[in-house]
Amino acid sequence: MKRLAAVLVALVFATALAGRESDTLNVAFERTMLTLDTYATSERLALIVAHNVADTLIHRNATTNEFEPHLATSWEWASPTELVLKLRQGVKFHNGDDFSAADVAATLNWVVGEGAGLAGTGTLQWIDHVEVVDPYTVRIVSRALTPTAIETLALVGVIYPASIIGREGGAVELGQHPVGTGPYVFVSNDNNKLKFERFDDYFVGSKTMPAIKNLVIHTLPEEASRIAALMTGDIDIVRSGGISPDQAMALGSRAHAEAADILRIWFVQFDATASSGSNYFTDARVRRAVAHAIDKHEIVEVLLSGYGNVIDVPCNPVQFGCQSDAAVVYDYDPVEARRLLAEAGYPDGFTVDIFGYRDQQVVQAIQGYLEEVGIRTNLQWYGGQYDVVAKRLAAGELPLYVGSWGSSSVYDASAVLNIHFEKGDVGEFTVGTDDTIDEAVRRALETVDLDERMQLYATAIHEITNEAFMFPLYAGRVVAGVSNDVLWQPSPDEIERYYDASWR
């Protein structure tokens, strides 16, 4: 009987093969992905998969933030609206196709053509069309002067083989079985496990040849399960955002926390136009009252265990044009908040819906601060449903929103300010702005003169914060859970490069 028990236990352990022995990096994602085509969804996880399976023309170095040649070896603006890129020769796709200008044209023309309405294509809609100059040269013609063209190409412009994206239903196929030129080859999607293998013919370029042969991405929707799997060694990396800082710091002996400052900022945004049917925030005094009511330093120190950097600007200070000294600062001052509310005609406060979709603790803390000054809030929680809450925000349906914005990983103030404060087509989430701001941010996107752009964004930032159309909270600092066997760090642009991981 004892022997039988011993055999059983041995059997159980034998089947639990550690990742290192099988040269497999096991990564935990927190949501099921129904498509792996990053152009079909605004889901960040699909973008991460895309950068591990496919390549962009230009690559941003995660450490230096510099743009480096990748699928393109060089590029230059032939005119303010014509970007000419020379392409690398001898690159192969996973399916054996040779990479050439035809693939770039087929992919990007599909993105702004047939695929233009899809959720993940928005960032590239500045492109008008792409021409093949010769087999290894393309000309990208933009609709207007686009200062962030290089940024967006490096961020989302992954290139698929023309033989697939060009045929009927090809994009759909790529969503189930992505094919690129990238460091990892997609093998299968088995029981919510995405399996990848190193591409031995990888051209490398500005990325690195994966040191670990196999990559498996698991879906583990529950945080506690992700942490348990990390502690048992079933998982090597819990990606940033999949583990909260306080949990990451208490991981114990098998794993540790790795942090990175990211572009994403957290903020409170008000419906200043009453389009949501609630008119409290049309009054700047009420918006300023909210700003004085919230102690963001305490949120960062206590709730986030210091994993965040308090900001007073409605953008990330590392972005070009995002100048902290241009902002009007609101100190934590509940007395002043109550005074402003009374002055605006609400001595007893009011009740309003508050919307959020991530970091529930933070939203609840803000509810608590607002309650202190008399603003009672009903939480409308859209946990994990960013697509839904984003649409409601864009439609102006949210009176009070605690949200975050990753700037699509673009290191330019336009990626926040124009998106949230420009009127018309560019402003996706413009729910409160004025003509001064609109004009400044619009002009900042119409010039490439750096000094002028700085000046214009300073004007916009001053006006936005003075009017308190948005109340900035903090810039993010993400933390990932990493096995002690693995050498790896999350990236500031939130595009996780698993091909950089290696065994210790």
Binding site: P221, A228, D234
Partner: protein, 304 residues
């Protein structure tokens, strides 16, 4: 019996049709599927193009009719989001959920029936007390918490079983046990009270008086007669289990229907949600029907 089954099948069909209409309407009221597909700042023209591409511009009754007639031919359409045929999307998920729920119900039967019978036969004994305590604890415990505790003990501390995922039998142990514990209390208490009723009956006393052995009295005479309400309850619980595995599937990352349902609802993926609802309805009806049939077989007095 045949007439009864046919009648029940007819009812099931009506329920399925009504349910599918309700889901269809609810989803249209809640969200515009074309808007859900498009990027947040898509222009009206781009949304309209998507609408045309997927036939979402037609009237709701027409869309429903097209869906229903195709579904009758076994074609549940294509997922708006992943562009996969709904049947190929559902098939592996159904397999996973049925496996989980099936093993869970089996575990429930194995644990709950003997425990319920023993508790009744030895009423007031330590066994009875233990069973009652277990029932109260099982019912009071939140299922996700219990699942996590099992993970901490068996995966993290002892390292015997994997934390999550699906693959070998070892992956099945913790989630199915968690699920079984959530339905065990009701089944056990029902068994116990049904047994208590039966053992007080005259024929049981007669059997004992005739000199029939105690175990034969309990298991052959009494348990068989006590089985009717238990089987009916199990039938209902199996249906509920298939629909209610969402939490367990989340904790253990089990790639089943619950997970797909959550993802599809949040992306307003109409065809997928429709098929899941229909499947769930079919399972509830079928498992109740099956319970009725089994009761008819166990208890010859039951005639439909």
């Amino acid at each position: 019996m045949t007439a009864y089954i046919l009648q029940r099948l007819g009812q099931a069909l009506i329920i399925a049709v009504l349910l599918s209409i309700t889901t269809f309407l609810l989803l249209f009221v809640a969200k515009d599927p074309a808007r859900a597909l498009a990027r947040p700042d898509a222009t009206a023209a781009e949304v309209q193009a998507l609408r045309l591409r997927y036939g979402l511009d037609r009237s709701v009754p027409e869309q429903y009719w097209r869906w229903a007639t195709a579904a009758l031919r076994g074609d549940f359409g294509t997922s708006l989001y992943s562009q996969q045929p709904v049947t190929s999307l559902l098939a592996p998920r159904i397999g996973a959920t049925v496996q989980l729920a099936g093993v869970a119900i089996l575990l429930t039967v194995i644990m709950a029936l003997p425990l319920g019978v023993l508790a009744a036969v030895r009423r007031g004994s330590l066994t009875d007390l233990f069973a009652s305590a277990l029932a109260v604890a099982g019912q009071a415990m939140p299922i996700f918490w219990f699942g996590l505790m099992l993970i901490v003990l068996f995966s993290v501390q002892l390292g015997w079983l994997p934390v999550s995922g699906r693959g070998t039998w070892r992956h099945l142990v913790l989630p199915s046990f968690t699920l079984a514990v959530s339905v065990l209390p009701l089944t056990m208490r029902l068994t116990r009270s049904a047994m208590l009723d039966v053992v007080a009956q005259d024929y049981v006393r007669t059997a004992t008086a005739k000199g029939v052995g105690r175990s034969a009295v309990v298991w052959k005479h009494a348990a068989r007669n006590a089985a009717t309400p238990v089987v009916l309850a199990l039938g209902m619980q199996f249906g509920a289990l298939l629909g209610g595995t969402v939490v367990t599937e989340t904790v253990f990352a089990w790639p089943g229907l619950g997970d797909l349902a959550v993802t599809s609802v949040s992306t307003a993926d109409l065809p997928v949600v429709q098929a899941i609802v229909l499947f769930a309805a079919a399972v509830v009806v079928a498992s109740n029907l099956m319970a009725d049939v089994i009761v008819g077989l166990i208890d010859p007095r039951v005639r439909y």
